[in-house]
């Protein structure tokens, strides 16, 4: 059985049959950020539920001589960025974005993936090599002629945002630190959480992990950092489901042991946490008990902190931060269905004027906006956001997802941080305050 058939067989119930609910009302087309800026993509209704009936022909072989694409009548599905807005707004419950992702996987199944698409999915591989040779890697990625060559050879746009490789991986720094501190015993799930750092933190942004851990420890939680692999989202986005499923199974195996003991799994990458919560089951069709156990135990860091606050357990000794803070809610965060917890946390910081930019998508959509043929689309999708961020006059912005941060920072030159970095700065401002000084009343951050 081919992957295509497997995907099709298993997903019909959850995703494929949801096309039966489609009323053809076009609401999904009204919110599609890609269709908004280009006619290379006709819109989610046409590519998703409308084309789905043609893809349902189970009797058709995945490959027919001379007709290699029989199962996907609409090749423009590859221009779907996977932002998920279509699924969000559908009044009938059609899983449009999921349908599109699976259609892409089917379209690509049985063929060797483009080297670039495969490579963009190998975040652990490229990250490890990059960290190992970080001075050369960082020089190369900042070198214009080399970037032009990369574009020519692999189709990665020369202007696409790439972060700097860290000098060492977060995992290795963490192990060293734990050894230095002599920490071996781990407290129970009331006093400790498991941290899923994801690739961005491991290879590029260890400072995000440091901020998250400092905040968790300040609130009385020891942090457990198990061995882990890429969540698999970059592979899913590039239609490479087989490898994505391998990654997912590895992570589930590792994390299920903790989840069974009652530990919560907290992540700083809102796209990784959403992948673990939803896509392992919905997209990759991993439906065993462990997958559900792990999904239910997984929390986005801001969701976790806000939940602590709801229980009256969050240390709120935030000091004042006198600044404008434009905030972008990533598409993956919206798919969590948890509101905008970062904005609610920012509201606890005196003086902080956080403002939701209220824009659909920054355009990067994981690896989408890095590709040569999609870079301009991504930039056009994000353009109104970039304009708003620039117009705010702020010196820094905030966003929960790494690739969005890189995209916003590259496009606007405004330093873009993870919400936990802002919160840590607020804690430090509180610590620096004279002890006896009265705490100023917190003006509410602008609501969203």
């Amino acid at each position: 059985m081919t992957i295509a058939e497997l995907v099709q067989e298993a997903s019909l119930e959850q995703v494929g049959y949801s096309s039966d609910e489609c009323l053809k009302c076009n609401v999904c087309n009204t919110v599609c950020p890609v269709a908004r800026v280009t006619d290379l993509y006709p819109g989610p209704k046409y590519v998703g539920p409308q084309a789905a009936r043609f893809r349902m022909g189970r009797a058709q072989p995945a490959q027919v001589a001379g007709l290699p694409h029989l199962l996907s009548p609409d090749m423009t599905v590859d221009y779907c960025s996977g932002c998920g807005w279509c699924t969000t707004v559908c009044p009938a419950g059609v899983k449009v974005a999921e349908m599109n992702s699976q259609s892409r996987a089917r379209m690509k199944a049985g063929k060797r993936p483009k080297l670039r698409d495969w490579g963009l999915g190998q975040t652990d591989l490229t990250g490890s090599i990059g960290v190992l040779f970080s001075p050369i890697g960082n020089w190369a990625l900042a070198n214009r002629p080399i970037r032009r060559m990369l574009e020519l050879a692999f189709g990665i746009h020369h202007a696409a945002p790439f972060p700097k490789f860290s000098k060492r991986t977060f995992q290795s720094t963490w192990k060293r630190r734990q050894k230095r501190r002599g920490i071996t015993a781990v407290p129970g799930p009331e006093r400790a959480v498991v941290y899923f750092h994801g690739c961005a933190v491991n290879y590029y942004e260890p400072h995000v992990a440091n901020a998250a851990i400092a905040i968790l420890e300040r609130n009385g939680y020891q942090v457990i950092v198990p061995e882990q692999v890429c969540c698999g989202l970059p592979l899913i986005s590039n239609g490479i489901y087989g490898e994505a499923r391998d990654r997912a199974n590895k992570n589930i195996k590792i994390l299920a042991d903790y989840a069974r003991k009652g530990y919560k799994i907290v992540g700083t990458s809102t796209s990784c946490t959403h992948t673990i919560k939803a896509e392992y089951r919905e997209m990759l069709d991993i439906h065993d008990d462990d997958a559900t156990l792990v999904a239910n135990a997984t929390w986005d860091i801001c969701e976790f902190l806000l939940d602590l606050h709801d229980q009256g357990k969050l240390d709120t000794s935030f000091g004042p931060l006198d600044e404008e803070l434009p905030y972008h809610a990533p598409c993956q965060l919206r798919s969590h269905g948890i509101g905008l917890p970062a904005m609610d946390l920012f509201a606890l910081v005196p003086g902080l004027r956080a403002k939701d930019m209220d824009h659909d998508c920054c355009g990067i959509a994981g690896t989408y906006g890095m590709k040569k043929e999609k870079y301009d689309i991504g930039m056009a999708v994000g353009a109104p956001l970039f304009e708003k961020v620039r117009a705010s006059g702020a010196t820094e912005a905030a966003c929960d997802s790494e690739t969005c941060r890189w995209q916003i920072e590259k496009a606007t030159n405004v330093r873009t941080r993870h919400p936990v970095e802002i919160l840590l700065a607020a804690y430090r401002a509180g610590d620096a305050r004279p002890v006896a000084a009265p705490v100023p009343a917190a003006p509410a951050a602008q609501s969203h």
Binding site: G43, V89, P91, A92, N296, L306, D358
Partner: protein, 449 residues
């Protein structure tokens, strides 16, 4: 999620109206909706009571208010203040409406070449309401490659006097089709794409020039021109202004099949007003379950990835729509279920669901199905006793309206949304002890009950 004084379920016209009114009174409001809906499917105009034989909306309103069991029987006094209030809020977001309850109901053309009764319309559609002067001409202007609007068929149909229901229509109706810049080879244009293109000032300047030239060629020196409802989305006011200024004929829009551009303008204006008033809105997740304490709703959980997300709340407005909106679900056994609170549903006998004549002018009996409430819009059981103390029902979910036939959907939505918010606010002022426990301390406050 932080706790709220009011959770509104549904993000259509009634939900937004309730949420906005409550937010303006100082309540912390959270809107939760499964998706976009009603607004995106509608005309963007406000149907209050477009009854044949009524001279004005006020006349129609009076007739419906006298109809046993109709929502207007308890809402008729709320409609006018609610409508005026909402208009000012929409105008502040750049969306103006013309006409009021005393504007004569007029036959305005539709995009399938018929007419419908209307009086209160967004500015871009309002020119259609004015009576036709003797000798006044109408040109229907289509766009080449745009398949949702067929000007020749519309003009042919509107040329028949009987379409105008006994009132004088235009003296002559012509059709023109214009090819817009850069779209020569296109055969799959959507209203959405055309509206967005018109938002671009440079493209618009060229496009309006071509439309003006085509209208001049049509030979109609004065009169009106009916255009598909594509006159801009984000920058609608500027687009409308340019069309009015540069076309030789007075333009008006005809609403089209979904997605409705005028409906989207309404949605985004409502949403902007709500956010400006401090309200919060989350689209995308259905309600998973509701926690109650005796006859009070105390928390609402919406679906979320892996878990549910809970909002503790002091009160709730149910604005989920009727069968079309998804607030009521019918099964094959003749049961209607209210999806959020499982409220008692008033519905016709199953045997009556299949009417002998599918096109009976009286309408389908299921149209009137919905939730019965008391005068404060609290849902009631069969004995008329409120089922929940702190829940209000608004919009198409209310029983007793035949909104397709009575053209009353928007009026009921606006009046009930407004009243829902006001009855709760009024009660809270009278009974300041109505307080819910907020999470995390320091938030135990509720202005609504």
């Amino acid at each position: 999620m932080p706790s709220a004084d009011l959770v509104v379920v549904g993000a259509g016209l009634s939900g937004h109206t309730a949420a906005l009114a409550a937010a303006e009174s100082g309540a912390r409001v959270q809107v939760l909706a499964k998706g976009h809906a009603g607004t995106h499917w509608g005309t963007g105009g406000f149907d209050i009571a477009g009854l044949p034989g009524s001279a004005t909306s006020r006349d129609g309103l009076r007739r419906l208010a006298a109809t046993r069991g109709h929502p207007y029987a308890i809402l008729s006094d709320d409609l006018e203040p609610a409508l005026e209030w909402l208009r000012t809020r929409l105008a502040a977001e750049g969306l103006t409406y013309e006409g009021d309850l005393d504007t004569p109901l007029a036959r305005v053309p539709t995009s399938i070449g018929g007419t419908r009764l209307a009086a209160i319309l967004p500015a871009a559609q309002a020119a259609a309401v004015r009576p036709w002067e003797p000798g006044e001409r109408l040109v229907v202007c289509g766009i080449a490659g745009f398949k949702d609007f067929w000007p020749d068929a519309i003009a042919a149909s509107l040329s028949r006097p009987r379409v105008w229901g006994g009132v004088a229509g235009p003296s002559r109706v012509d059709a023109v089709t214009v090819e817009l810049p850069g779209l020569a080879a296109r055969h799959n244009l959507s209203a959405l794409e055309l509206a967005r293109r018109l938002d671009d000032p440079a493209w618009r300047a060229d496009a309006v020039g071509r439309i003006a030239a085509a209208l001049e060629r049509s030979g109609a020196a004065t009169g009106r021109v009916a255009l598909p409802a594509i006159l801009g989305l984000d920058d609608h006011a500027a687009v409308l202004e340019e069309f009015r200024r540069r076309l030789p004929l007075e333009p008006f829009e005809l609403p089209l099949v979904p997605p409705s551009i005028p409906g989207m303008r309404l949605y985004y204006a409502l949403r902007a007003a709500l956010i400006r008033a401090g309200g919060r809105i989350q689209i995308g997740e259905a309600i998973a379950h509701v926690d109650r304490d005796a006859d009070r709703v105390i928390a609402v959980a919406s679906e979320a990835a892996a878990r549910t997300t809970t909002v503790r709340t002091g009160s709730m407005v149910l604005a989920t729509g009727g069968i079309a909106g998804g607030g009521l679900v019918a099964d094959h056994g003749g049961h209607l279920e209210e999806v959020v609170l499982d409220l008692p549903v008033e519905a016709p006998e199953f045997a009556d669901w299949l009417a002998p004549d599918a096109f009976d002018p009286a309408g389908h009996p299921l149209e009137g199905a919905g939730i019965r409430t008391d005068a404060d819009l609290r849902p009631v059981d069969q004995s008329g006793k409120p089922v929940f103390e702190n829940v209000r029902v608004a919009g198409s979910l209310l029983a007793g309206q035949r909104y397709l036939r009575e053209r009353c959907r928007d009026g009921v939505a606006i009046a009930s949304g407004w009243r829902a918010a006001r009855t709760m606010t009024a009660v809270a002022v009278a009974e300041p002890s109505a307080v819910t426990a907020g999470p995390g301390g320091g938030e135990a406050r509720s202005v609504l009950r």
